[in-house]
Symmetry: C2
Amino acid sequence: MPTLYHHPMSAASRFVRLILSEYGYQTDLAEEMPWEKRREFLALNPAGTLPVYVDDSRRALCGAAVISEYLDETNGVLKRDRRLLAEDPFQRAEIRRLTEWFLHKMEADVTRPLVRERIFKLQMTAEQGGGAPDSKILRTSRANIRQHMKYLDWLAGSRKWLAGDRLSYADLAAAGALSVLDYMGEIDWVEASQVKDWYQRLKSRPSFRPLLAERVRGVTPVSHYADLDF
Amino acid sequence: MPTLYHHPMSAASRFVRLILSEYGYQTDLAEEMPWEKRREFLALNPAGTLPVYVDDSRRALCGAAVISEYLDETNGVLKRDRRLLAEDPFQRAEIRRLTEWFLHKMEADVTRPLVRERIFKLQMTAEQGGGAPDSKILRTSRANIRQHMKYLDWLAGSRKWLAGDRLSYADLAAAGALSVLDYMGEIDWVEASQVKDWYQRLKSRPSFRPLLAERVRGVTPVSHYADLDF
């Protein structure tokens, strides 16, 4: 069976887990602490980032964008109306633009710094950079969330799904990030009613259940985290 | 004719210009200063990043990864042995992994900070963040170059082209970054003889000529910048 190296609080890992689950694929999950820089893990992915998908022939696919394209080419193309990338090249470009937005821009502005400061640093040793969160980084990232939520609210309010009429990679990439931020209680849902409607629809999908049951050491999720009606 | 919004010292813009030129496409080039955050430009690409490709129907494609996938789907697929993405999904994944490495990892570790400190800040006003380069950022980025050059040297020494037997997006993405760093004299070629051989082959291609003729205000290129035999 293929193996997915992931971390429960890695938004990109959650994105790939949602794809695999939407397509009905079984994989073994192997939890990886990227800050440990394990030699065996770096041999799979020299960039040291998550997720990494290792197929049955022990070939490694590195990073959510690469894995998602591979899964579309080898499997998605057969899924017809359940395909998570469109047929039309321009529509594909819009899905990719937004997927990249969540995997790179929102990740850099918001998700990565908040997860690092609030969760990873609790598990790191002092040598690895562990310790108390940096309040300046928390403040900046929280200011950035508001901008990202505004854009998401606009997208969710003007389209059925984020990239158009159908559920796509863009929705799953956004949901990977939002679910991690929501776990930490970082999202103000009152200010983003359109995002809330969209997220509620996603949260009700069977692919989402494993994420809602997950817990990480040292940080209890916000009380509404697993509620479908929040 | 389509328009490419670019900056001469944007590695990702150079990557897309090389693709367009390898495929023989004509585009208008529009120089954009991303730090100005022009309203019209942000309407094309809310992320505010370069490059942006606007087609004849005034539809915008944002970012080098999105543009390169679109060009492959609409044109590359017809190019047979001149196609810059492979046919095999796993080989495609390797090309994408390396392309992403240069577009995101090397960009964040090395290219973006050096270009910002040494070139963009000369052109920015004080309000935009302009001024003298931050010596700590220069030092960190230069230490990072050495690691990236080692990895590149290993790739260039163990494969004909960076991702395998054929010229691909991976080579053009790497060349976009290296050409910008070389312009600024940031590359120590003595330490990287395999990369040098590979870069020499790329530099001799007609697609490279426009990049070698380019100059930016305030920074003269290193003397060997345009030499094919350096």
